[in-house]
């Protein structure tokens, strides 16, 4: 059952990475997550937002939409852009693969999202944009 939801849109500039992960962390803090769970969510959000800025918009102006939803057993976040899209999602998700080797990217973005979250879904259309949806199970602790 859906317990809570949120939606926030911001400019695709690196300054907003901190804002995005801070907002995501604040959204789930009521579930009493562990420090590790919180760090993992913040890192995964940061990776998705960085991807949208660096790869989706390639430094050009644009908007990023972040949505969050809290269900009984898990939280779901999605990060969407209207950038160039990913032509080969399977390849992009391979560890150490980077579309920008000249920019000293580590190629770890999707691997980190997959490792830190419980599910990761990537939808992308060339020229239309990319939407990354992630869920994470959060155990409710008895207070």
């Amino acid at each position: 059952m859906l317990r809570n939801s949120m939606k926030v849109e911001f400019d695709a500039i690196t300054d907003n990475e901190r804002f995005a992960r801070g907002a995501a962390a604040a959204f789930v803090v009521g579930l009493d997550p562990t420090v590790d769970e919180l760090s993992e969510i913040k890192t995964a959000i940061s990776e998705a937002v960085t991807n949208a800025i660096i790869h989706g918009y390639d430094g050009r102006a644009g908007k990023i939409l972040m949505e969050g939803a809290i269900y009984d057993e898990f939280v779901e976040f999605s990060v969407s852009d209207e950038g160039v899209g990913i032509s080969d999602i399977r390849r992009a998700r391979e560890p150490l693969y980077t579309g920008k080797p000249e920019d000293e990217r580590s190629g770890m973005g999707f691997t980190i999202m997959e490792t830190f979250m419980d599910s990761l879904d990537v939808e992308s259309e060339r020229g239309r944009g990319t939407r990354v949806t992630m869920t994470k199970n959060i155990k409710r602790r008895e207070m």
Binding site: E17, K42, E47, E104, T111
Partner: protein, 146 residues
């Protein structure tokens, strides 16, 4: 550039202190600090608490300029203040490795929190960089000077 012995240089012995120099951050760089350790031919980079694409870009620019200007060979990342890091942090460490390995330099990372250590282990960069707990160990290992 100004000589300053209030920062991390003070953690070391006097010989190191004589030839160390801290470069205060410029506007917009947060609290990132760069310290030239002349004795060890090493640039110590101390990022602020959040190491993401935004701060990584600033470190990249300042560090490469300084390395070129000073002719230092090695880089040590002081991670003691870092509370948050993502793959951009891994990228900036890998990038400095690429910069200095062509001139026979080395890269060390020290003072990592368990969370930062987890990301570093995941990325596999332990194969190419030296990891240490303390500043002194990092400087000695990276430079080969005790």
């Amino acid at each position: 550039m100004r000589i300053n012995n209030r920062g991390i240089a003070r953690e070391l012995d006097k010989t190191a202190l004589v030839c160390s120099c801290e470069i205060p951050p410029r506007k917009g760089e947060g609290n990132m600090e760069m310290t030239i350790m002349g004795k060890y031919r090493t640039l110590v980079i101390r990022p602020d608490s959040e190491l993401d694409q935004h701060t990584a870009e600033k470190i990249r620019q300042s560090a490469d300029k300084l390395l070129k200007k000073t002719g230092l060979k090695n880089v040590a990342f002081d991670m003691r203040r870092v509370r948050f890091m993502d793959s951009s942090g891994i990228g900036v460490i890998m990038g400095r490795y690429r910069t200095v390995c062509t001139i026979g330099g080395r890269v060390a990372v020290f003072g990592m929190s368990p969370y930062v250590e987890r990301l570093v282990s995941m990325s596999g960069i332990r194969e190419i960089v030296i990891t240490a707990d303390r500043l002194q160990d990092a400087l000695e290992e990276v430079s080969g000077i005790c």
